[in-house]
């Protein structure tokens, strides 16, 4: 016998993704395998598979999808869109998943870096890419008026 439903119906995971900015096109995804061939990361790392990530979403495996590190191996190059026969935007779908992962409190090098860079923009108006071997001999240009940026970002979050 069917047990009585005690919780209100939660929408399937893919619907949550489809209503997150960038995730809309998951509705048209079949899924197939076509988007994996243009992906530069998939070509180098057999552990990264775009259709597998999308498959997890379609199967409703929310927690596993949002905690997985592969969301952050994606380089946001959006090459994958060219492969899709359904005109979906798989790269943007991954962006939507990263948004949800951040909101769900995901941890690891990817989420930590995203949060740190987001905080830099909020605090200084810009990102400092301290990636060069030798430090700059010149003083960096002063940051954008960070109070204005902070005001805008906070107003957006509160809306």
């Amino acid at each position: 016998m069917e047990p009585a439903r005690v919780r209100p119906e939660v929408p399937p995971f893919w619907v949550e993704v489809a209503s997150t900015p960038g995730g809309e096109s998951i509705a048209t995804c079949i899924p197939c395998e076509a988007c994996s061939s243009p992906c530069p990361i998939g070509a180098l790392d057999p552990g990264f598979s775009l259709p597998r990530i999308i498959g997890r979403v379609k199967a409703g495996r929310r927690q596993e999808t949002l905690a997985a590190e592969d969301l952050w191996t994606c380089t946001r190059c959006y090459a994958c869109a060219a492969g899709c026969p359904r005109h979906a935007r798989p790269g943007e779908i991954l962006g939507a998943l990263r948004q949800l992962a951040l909101r769900a409190g995901a941890d690891g090098p990817g989420p930590r870096r995203a949060r740190a860079l987001g905080a830099q923009v909020r605090e200084r108006g810009r990102i400092d890419l301290a990636t060069r071997g030798k430090p700059s001999p010149r003083r960096a240009r002063p940051a954008a008026s960070s109070a204005a940026v902070r005001g805008i970002l906070d107003a957006a979050e509160a809306s």
């Binding site: 790392d45 301290a130 060069r132 809306s159």
Partner: protein, 297 residues
Amino acid sequence: MRYAYFPGCAASGSCRELDDATRGVAEDLGIELVDLAGAACCGAGILQETNPEGALAVNAHTLSLAQTEGLDVLTVCGTCQLHLARAARSLEDPKTRARVNRVLEKAGQDPYRGGVRVRHLLQVLLQDVGERKLAAHVRRPLDGLAVGAFYGCNLLRDPGADAYDTPEDPTSIERLVALLGGNAVSFRARTACCGFHALAVREDLVVRLSAAGLAEARDAGATMVATPCPLCHLVLDARQRKAAKASGQTLNVPILHLSQLVGLALGIDPGRLGVDRHVVPVTPVIEKLEDREVVKA
């Protein structure tokens, strides 16, 4: 010619030479760059994930600053170009603009009214300056230089890229190099991602990716590579030794920012273009050019 200049975070910080070179080129060509005091980061795709509505509002703010000046925006970064142009495109929808303007209003900022265009230096050089004028300003032709054209990915995803190029099979850098008197080298990986955004998570993959691209450029005959994106530069130049090591080959491919390449052809002093700030020495390129007389205008 006047533009609201948006150097972006990389050219304002670790790639200061790109900013220096761009200002030098603009001055030489009579382009006035108006600084947007108060413009923030484009979000680089990251703010778009940590605070998507905030990223759109911050970019709307930047566009409204340009609007106040009555100017279009000029970028020198593939990623800035992509995110600002995408924001500008979404903000053409009146409903989205009204929603974002409510955020700006709450934050005490002026609203954005729409209509500002966002264009990369590459497009401005080819379309606004124009081939004739550009060619007339060349005082140190790049002849004999085999320049690999590396677009990277983000610039080509700009929703307006098809106004000056064919994103699937681009030729604009090659056309520019030819105008400067150089020998443009095309290769398949020129539209590939440099891997920048995966650096924090999988640097091992990123260096393999860039090693493959650089080896392809070299095998196609390029003795140097020019890129319109400072993030590509940070991978291709600053991590080239790691790329060489990971792939077990010597690379030694000098990487020039597009602005530096143009600056060299215009006869600007290499020191002013900041070529000494790179990790992979640009000296072989400079030496080749220094043999050549700078043609006085």
